[in-house]
């Protein structure tokens, strides 16, 4: 099967490969997998606590060229977006940008799932941190 030139470009020169500190309260981590092919994808976002804008995004994917390209593109798009804007990214946007064939659409779905998982992890951490602050603020009984 022929990959599009954009897929090959992302595959050969993946953007933002790597990882961010998992325990940082401003970092959200999403780890997702595709049972159809056994691919795994980790995507992380770092959110600026003051502006709530994604200031950094990293990924690491073990899988086919399309899965790597989908996550590489996703990290490129994520930087500079707010959390809500990030959640508005659809897998179909990735399919269009990379000209993915029908058999590779699940790779773009995986990238969308990874974004959602990363943001949900970030929100969970923020919620937990807020709860901890509330608890600390309680006067001792």
């Amino acid at each position: 099967m022929a990959y599009s030139s954009k897929v090959i470009d992302h595959y050969e020169n993946p953007r933002n490969v790597g990882s961010l500190p998992k325990d940082d309260p401003n970092v959200g981590t999403g780890l997702v997998g595709a049972p159809e092919c056994g691919d795994v994808m980790k995507l992380q976002v770092k959110i600026n606590p003051a502006t709530k804008v994604i200031e950094d995004a990293k990924f690491k994917t073990f899988g086919c060229g399309s899965a790597i390209a989908s996550s590489s593109l996703a990290t490129e798009w994520l930087k500079g977006k707010t959390v809500d804007e990030a959640l508005a990214i659809r897998n179909t946007d990735i399919v269009t940008e990379l000209s993915l064939p029908p058999v590779k659409i699940h790779c773009s779905v995986l990238a969308e799932d990874a974004i959602k998982a990363a943001i949900s992890d970030y929100r969970k951490k923020q919620g937990a941190a807020a709860a901890a602050v509330d608890q600390a603020a309680q006067p001792p009984a």
């Binding site: 780890l31 997702v32 997998g33 159809e36 056994g38």
Partner: protein
């Protein structure tokens, strides 16, 4: 509406007597073979051709124990869009998940991810010119837990298959049968991750990949 089991005159059990399957396949092939229909009407010729090709799909799918289970899951649990055309089901089996909407456990994904990273490091080590004993030993260490998991998985799939057959024999209630299928489906969700990892390791070790994938 027929299915592969019914078409071959078998009950929907996973333990299939392969010799019996071969015998039925040969008998039906003779019956439907297009060569016997070359003097028949165009309609009859078309039907014989369709039946032959359905028979071949049925035989191929049921002969292999893995595709047999995948097919049973499709039949019993169905696809979300409710495609009840067994022909297209056979095509979907190659890329579809047995139980749509279910996800592998997070712990498995973490394990798979970590092992993939370990494989990457071993590859770098080798490329830097480390002694073969050194990286091979590390690779074999990485292989052990996943190989153990594969063996455990196969045993679980075998046990669940026997449970399914026993449930069919005693006509067990639907929810009991569904629980067995769900457990089988979960094992199949994890199967590709385990196969891929082992294939990756075997490739690094320079071993000919065994028949893990399908």
């Amino acid at each position: 509406m027929t299915d592969y089991f019914t078409f071959l005159g078998l009950s929907r059990k996973l333990g299939i007597d392969v010799q019996e399957l071969d015998r039925r396949y040969r008998a039906l092939s003779r019956q439907f073979h297009p060569d016997y229909f070359h003097n028949a009407s165009p309609g009859e010729r078309r039907v014989s051709l369709e039946r032959s090709s359905y028979l071949n799909d049925a035989y191929r799918t049921l002969k292999n124990p893995i595709t047999r289970i995948e097919y049973l899951l499709k039949l019993e649990v169905g696809s979300p869009q409710g495609s009840d055309d067994p022909q297209s089901d056979a095509a979907q089996l190659k890329h579809g998940t047995p139980l749509p909407g279910r996800k592998p456990p997070a712990s498995l994904l973490e394990e798979v991810f970590a092992l993939n990273e370990e494989l990457g490091e071993i590859r770098e080590m080798r490329d830097r010119g480390a002694a073969p004993e050194e990286w091979q030993a590390r690779l074999e260490r990485a292989q052990q837990p996943i190989e153990a998991k594969r063996i455990a998985h196969e045993a679980e799939i075998a046990a669940l298959s026997s449970q399914w057959d026993a449930a069919i024999d005693r006509d067990a209630p639907l929810d009991h049968r569904h629980a067995i299928l769900e457990a089988l489906g979960d094992r199949f969700l994890e199967r590709n991750y385990i196969s891929n990892l082992l294939l990756g390791i075997e490739r690094e070790l320079g071993v000919e990949p065994s028949a893990l994938g399908n």
